[in-house]
Assembly symmetry: C2
Homo-oligomer: 342 residues x 2
Amino acid sequence: MMKKIVSVLKHCRSFLITSHIGPDGDSISSQIALALLLEKLGKRKKVIIINEHTVPQIYRFLPHVNRVSAPYSLLPAPSSFEIAIVLDCSNLERTGKISSLISTPRSPLPTPLIINIDHHLDNSFFGDFNWVDKKASSVSEQIFSLSKILGLPLNKKLATLLYTGIITDTGSFQYHLSPTTHKIIATLISKGVVPEEITKNLYQNLPFASLKLFGLALATLKENKVPTAFLRKQEVGKDGKLCWMKVTREMYQETKSFIEDTEPFIDYLRQIKDVKVLFILKESSENKTKASFRSIGKFDVQKLAKKFGGGGHRNASGATLNEPIDQAEKTILKAIKLWMGY
Amino acid sequence: MMKKIVSVLKHCRSFLITSHIGPDGDSISSQIALALLLEKLGKRKKVIIINEHTVPQIYRFLPHVNRVSAPYSLLPAPSSFEIAIVLDCSNLERTGKISSLISTPRSPLPTPLIINIDHHLDNSFFGDFNWVDKKASSVSEQIFSLSKILGLPLNKKLATLLYTGIITDTGSFQYHLSPTTHKIIATLISKGVVPEEITKNLYQNLPFASLKLFGLALATLKENKVPTAFLRKQEVGKDGKLCWMKVTREMYQETKSFIEDTEPFIDYLRQIKDVKVLFILKESSENKTKASFRSIGKFDVQKLAKKFGGGGHRNASGATLNEPIDQAEKTILKAIKLWMGY
């Protein structure tokens, strides 16, 4: 399959590169890196990167980040490119509105071929050409392999992009790791990556207000034991906790912070000993509450989010409830108790 | 020098291994790993690991951790071993009370030879044999090199120890990194290390009460701008902040937490954008306040701690003030303002 993909990349002339909604470090970095590699192959000015959502502030330090365009109005006509390359998506729906552009069976215009490059376990092989490497830490790791196959040497900018994709998708080298990943990282550092520069941008860039907001939210942090019978059924040991916390509009006002400032909170809570399932509720308006669910191990919080019309993955999902925050808390706790058989 | 050290290790029969007060992941892991290697060389039962302080709870998952003894009363007589190997210490004083045991010029007993294995920039070459590798991420990385030189293959336990030393001394691979470090990590994973197991123990083991305590402490978090003139003098850009926070005895009581639970707080605060100098005050009793100082970059907080009879390093130091916590806050802020020329 790799041979076919390489051949397609070499012979086609116009490319649309896209990735999932809510773009992350890996999706953004791998898209830009791939575009730079294609340009090294001589595809200059015929490579478009487009996502439904804009690049979050935290990734704006990346080289050539302005290449990633988002406003939907800027979308080119489907006929204007031959190949759509979809990165880091289990299925085409993950690209959001972009999916309609690259998969329009009823369109009178020719629709592009699709190359699917991904590392998720549940990839649906939606492409005309599929390169799914479940052992890869990240798509950036796959793009690294691609650069080797294409015989294109990496410079500091490319290495910085790939390093960022790998560090963010492994939680700063804490999971999804293989010897291969670390060997790649060694190569990237030897190409000029300065790890301290990247980690400063990613992990030492928190607004002061975000920590003040976290302080207020922590006052609402609660925990419940997960029933032993349920833990036994899931085969995850004998201790388990459910933890959750609320962020209200008053808290934003008091600390002069914004909903984006809550971004790191869920990762802090993941550090709690024995936590298996956790959620954060964020009040958007009087009758609207956003819920973010996370789980550790085999617990499937996607099913939980689905009950409220949301979605996501087994270990990370979300939903919006049309209820005041305190009512939403009750609704979710009731659903969790039903799920776990309290 | 390496050749001499290898020769000494091979020919001596009795070893005392030690490291610094306030032991960390690297000092503990490298000590145990070195002991295991010496035993592979046939030095069974003649290798003692002893530190002034006990192993913190968080590192108790390490293989053979019970080999590390701490109570001072258990100290052997200096004459009972030929060689003292001091790991991860810039100078002999860093070993605390152990230093008197291995450096007693007025003792009638023969004092042991000292091997100094370290990676700190300011190492004072206090040993009879000094192996100071300033490029190494950690002493664990040096012990890895030693195992190669000695031709001793690593098993999963040894690899787990060295991996833990490296991950903790690089802040989960965020600083002190070279291609070599990542190549070593790749080898360690191929020897059976499961990164997820280690990071679960190190980073997903926080007591619930610790986060509740952090919430209360964050309510006291404050910031001050560092004067531009001072930043210019230190050549560290144009933006800089001083941040600090207090942990009172009432907070421990309210959240049923302990002083150990404050351990991760300072690392969270290091994430604040533009923070250059930070400190946390912890109330020990009505008239006693412990201060932990941290800095990013060239700011020397060791000098600051010295003013209050404390010590440490350029980027991490501490002191105990015999003052109530609010008075200690005023005293320290005054000293910082003097230092920075407000």
